[in-house]
Each structure stands twice: as C-alpha cells, then as structure tokens.
Symmetry: none
Subunit: 195 residues, 4 copies
DNA sequence: GATGAATGAGAATTCATTCAT
DNA sequence: GATGAATGAATTCTCATTCAT
C-alpha cells in the first residue's frame, strides 16, 4: 500500500502564501517547493504545471466562495436581507481567510478568463439576487449589471483597502454599514434626493 | 533644439497594449521592441529596465489621473458636487483611454507598493473630499477610510465590469446614477431606512 | 514450481510497441509501465534499468533472428539456395513480427555498438554464407564484405520501405524476385553485361 | 551595423558531429553550445528549438543531396548510365562528407516523417529513374517500388557497413561493382538464370 | 511483492540586459 | 545612435530510479 499523499496540502499552503506575497509571476516553482519542504519534481505529481497549480487554487476557492454566498442568500428572506447576508459572507470570508481572499482578489485578472459559465461564480450569485430584487420590485428598475457592479464594488473595495492596509481590523463589523449603503445605492433612483 | 526622439511614444503605446493584453510578466522586452518597431537595444536608451518602463507607464498615468481628479473636485462646489465630478472624471477617463485605465486597474497591485506618499494619488484625492465632507457635516460622521473605499468601489467596479465585458458601451452615461448611489451610500447611517 | 511472473511479457510487448511508435528516447518508463498496466516500481523487478530493457528486447530478438537465419541456411544446399532461404527468412520475419522487425531496424544504430563478437549475429551469418560461396566458386571472387552488404541491402531496404509504408502487403511474395536479384548482383562481375 | 552572424556554422558543425557521435537524444543543447563555443542562449537565436536544429540540418542536406542526385541522372543518358551516375553520387557523397552522410543515415528515421512530398527527395529521384527505365523498356516490367528499394539498398547498405567500420577505405572505387550489381538485380526476371 | 510518491539531476527554453560593431 | 547577437542566470518541466509503506 503506497504512501498516502501528504504533500499536496503543504504545497497548496506554501503556494498560496507565496503567490499573495510575491505574485504568481514572482514566485518560482522552486520557491514553492522549498517553502513546502518538497522537491520540485514532487510538485508535478500533484499538479500538472504551475498554471494548473494556480488554477486549482483559484477555481477551488472561487467556486466554494460562490456556493457559500449562494447558501447565505438562500437562507435569507427578501432582497435586502439576501444582499446583507452576502455582504456579511464576503466580509466574514475576508476575516476568516485573508490569504485566500487576497489571492482571489489579486490573481483574479488572469484567471477569470478561464472561468467557464457553468462554474459557480460569486458575481453571478450576486447578480441573480439583484435581478430577482428588480423583478420583485424591491429594487427600482435599473441596469442589473451596473447595479451588481456597484454592490460588488461596495463590498470588495473595503476588502481591497484592508488588503493594502488602508483599513485595519476585522471587516465583519462594517457589514451593517456596508449593507445599508448598498441598499441605499441600489434603491436610489438617478434623480432622487437632489437638493 | 534637437528633435525629440520619436521612438519613446511608440514604445509606450506598444508596451501599454501588450501589458494589458498579455500581462506584464507575459510580455517580453522583445515583444515590446518588435511591436514598437524598435530594436531591443534601442529600448534601453529610453528606459533603464523593464521595471522602469512599467513604472514610468504606471506612475505617469497614476499621477496625471490624480491631478485630473483633483482639478475636477476643486472646480466643483459642495461635497456632493465634488464627488459627482470625480465620478464623472473616472468614468470619462475610462471612456477616453480604456487601455490606460485597464493598465492602471490590472497592474496596480504590484505597482501600488512603490507609490510614495508624496505622489499625487487618486485614492487620496477622493479620501480628502470625503474627509472634508464629514468635517463640513455634509456626510454623517463615519469612518473616512471605509467611506472612501465604498465610494471608490462604486465607481471602480463598474469600470472593472466594463473591462471584463460585463458592461458594454461608454460608462459616462452612468455617471449620474453612480453619483446618486454614492451619495446615498455615504449619507446613509447604518440603521436608517430599515423597514 | 512457482508461476512465472506474468508481467514481464506485458512489459515487453508494451515497450516494444511504444519504442517503435515513439522511439526509445521518446518513451518514458512511466509510459511503458502505464501501457503494460504495471506500476513503475514493478518494472524494475524485471529489468534493471531502461537501458537494460531496451537491450533485452534487442539482444534477445537479434540473436534469435540470427539463429533462425542460420538454421535456414544450414537446411538449404548450395550457396544460391542458402541465400534464398535466408532472404525468405528475413521477409517472413518481417511479415510475422513487423513490430519486432521495425524495432530491430530502427533501434539498431545505438544497440549494435553493444553487440559482442560472440553473440549470434544475422549479418555474420549472411557473410559466412557469402564467404563460403566465394570459396566454393559459386560466387566469383569479390570483396566478401561488399558482397554481404549488397545482399543485406537488397533484402533490408524493401523491409525498410515496408516499414515506411512505401511498400504495402506482405513481403514474402517478393522473396523469389529478391533472391534472383541477389544472385544476379553477387554473381555479376564488374565489367560484365555492359553493352 | 550589427555583428554579422558567425555562430551559426559553428553550431551546425558541432551539432552534426555530436549528433552522429552520441545520437540526437544523447546530445544536449548544452553539449552543442559548448562544442560550438557559444552560450546555450545564443543557439536559440539561430534555431528555434533543438528539433528545429535537427530538422534544419537534416532537411537542408537531404534536399541538397536529392538535387545533386537529380543533376547527376539528368546529365547521364540511358537508364543504366543514370543509375550508375546516381550510385556514384551516393558513394562520392559518403566519401566527401562522411559525417553528413552518417547523420542522414542514422537520423533519418524520426525525420523522414516530417518530409513533405514537395521536398526534393533522393529516394523519389531514384524511383523516378527506375520508373522511367521500366516505361522505356530498359528494365523488365516489375514493381517499381520494390525495384527502387533494391537499388537503394544495394548502395546504402555498403555505406552503412562503412559507417559501422565493416568496410574500410573510400567507397567510390566500389561504384562500378555496385552499379553492375544493381543493373543485374533490376534487369533479372524472377525465374531467370535458375539452373 | 507491489505501489506510486518522492527525489535529484538534468533538459530545453526564455529573457532582461549588455556590448561589439 | 542604433542594432541585434550574445550572455548567463533562472525557469519550467521531465524522468530514471529509489524506497517507505
């Protein structure tokens, strides 16, 4: 009976950390192997290539995050509560797994091209809630993509600020503030409330 | 007065395009030189290194963008108008120079570390307006960093969506909608407006 | 009496096929093990090294082929009949075991260096018949090595053509034609038959 | 004005020698670079890859050799003279460029697959002469591919023997003997001359 | 005995940068 | 000034072989 694979999680953890610290391009396979305490060759038993390693890390977390958001919105009732639940989910994810979150955030650009439409996608999850909210009349008629973008930006940018050190401490305490802001942003009509 | 070297803008344009298309790491000096119609050696007459080229592209546009935003806010009166002016500035910049905007957006991560506090910085410009708005009582007391993050996200994420093709067409028409949303988001207090 | 290990022939067949298809250098031990349905480690129970596997395949067939040719010539009477018998043996071998034949043909270069003078050698077998034919006066005096080379080329090149797909169908039907040609070639004197 | 390329012939010579001595697979780019006295990287300025280097060496000589044979047969009159001329051409080529000849001979297997029908091909040249000879009635009706194979084998196998050291000295003196043998072989009918 | 994870020594290739011409 | 050949270090990846389980 062969040795069970024990190196894989070591590699994943080391890669995640290095990719966030130095960027994917700035991290060599040698760096990852050394940090994981395995040989370079061993890495290729678990991942076909460096790209495959990056993608495995990305796709796994990306989909898991999407499923988590979807569960949160499904458990909540009403558009506003669903949005608030998802916002809390995003912020809570940042607090719980800052490394993973920053990896998703900073690595997204090159990886998003490879995301297929059938993969669970957190952005789509949020968009679906926004769309349903518009259909239900909870959100005034508006471009759902723009509304989604605004909602996403409202919660992702604070996380980005936190990743850059502009915001300190856990993000979850800001959830009510952000949720309220998002609700205001989405339900505001273009001309309303101008003095 | 000698003719200024005409190769430099060629190199900058070629580099910008390639960096956005293939990423900085995925673009070699050879690629840039070939696309610019210049020899590899000639490139080093204009830029000390590849990093210097990236940085020149980034820092120049970043600071110019910051100055533009600052001019826009200075010309407007009142916190709300200043914010709206800056939002229009961001969206208009995207429409006018999508390549440059996407370069700043996607390349920011590694470059922001090199930004020194004395450089004009668009984020700081926005934060200053937010802070002043709070001080003036136009925005209810709140964490200025968080408020800045939300305002930035509200406008940057639509641009990101546009860069990914999720939103089509020019962004400037969305300026009033986003400005209103931003104002609502910033002036909402955490508990307000709940049913 | 223990059951002989059944893996060895599986490995040999798989290796033979892959070596012919992709070349020895282009075939990894992993490829062979996978094709044979055996683990990489198990392969080393049967063969000391990759080189040893190649050599075992080569040397075994090479010597067996030599013995076969020798038996054929021994059973025939007269130089011409002996040559014809060996030519039929070569062509029949190609028809019966095309994979093995092609392996010997294409792999020969690097392996022939390792062939020791005491190993049964098909070329030597043919040369001995040629020499004896010259000594017996059946073949006019001539350089025996050159005569051997011509006889070998006359039968090996059609097999090579067959291996490359230039000649289709079984080769054995061509045996009389080739045998006649070989006899004519060997018995021709340099100046004879010129117009 | 840049340095003219001087390294290319150095690389080609070194590669040719090493490929013949140690085989293509047994020769590393590092070996070639060292033997050529250039850096590994420099090699890639002249050849896109190791495969491209091998192919350049092969295809160039292969086609040149074909053109040479074609010129020789074109200058000769009558099927027999054309064949004799080509046989002399092959043997003379071996004597003049033994390294190149052995390279073509031993490396052919993997490279012939890449030969396209529009490339000048020595085998085709010989086959065309054989075909024309049959059509002209100089050679009795026979399978032209088989006849070509025999003619080719008759001259290539002596060269192979020479490459292996079985035949010593220049090959060209054997030309008349081989030419006569070839003519006898091709003009013999299957049943003729049997006692 | 068998397994396949791990090793470690290369292999091919790329590329920013330098510099002779 | 410009060119592009050359460098040399680093990178990704492969693979024969070993060995703990």
């Amino acid at each position: 009976m062969p040795r069970p694979p024990s190196a894989k999680p070591l590699i994943e953890n080391a890669a995640l950390r290095l990719f966030v610290e130095k960027g994917v391009a700035g991290t060599s396979i040698r760096d990852v192997a050394a940090a994981a305490g395995v040989s370079e060759g061993a890495l290729y038993r678990h991942f076909d290539s460096k790209d495959a390693l990056v993608w495995a890390l990305f796709a796994g977390s990306f989909a898991a995050f999407a499923r988590r958001l979807d569960a949160l919105q499904a458990a909540a009732h009403g558009t506003r509560a669903k949005l608030a639940a998802m916002i809390g989910g995003v912020l809570g994810f940042y607090d719980a797994e800052p490394l993973l979150f920053r990896f998703l955030l900073f690595v997204q650009h090159r990886q998003l091209e490879k995301v297929t439409p059938d993969m669970p996608n957190p952005i789509d999850t949020i968009r679906n809630v926004v769309r349903a909210g518009i259909a239900a009349g909870d959100i005034p008629p508006t471009d759902p993509e723009l509304a989604t973008a605004m909602a996403v930006g409202l919660v992702l940018q604070p996380a980005t600020f936190a990743a850059y050190g502009r915001i300190e401490g856990p993000l979850l305490p800001h959830a009510p503030r952000i949720a309220t802001a998002a609700w205001q942003a989405l339900t505001a009509s273009s001309g309303e409330n101008r003095k």
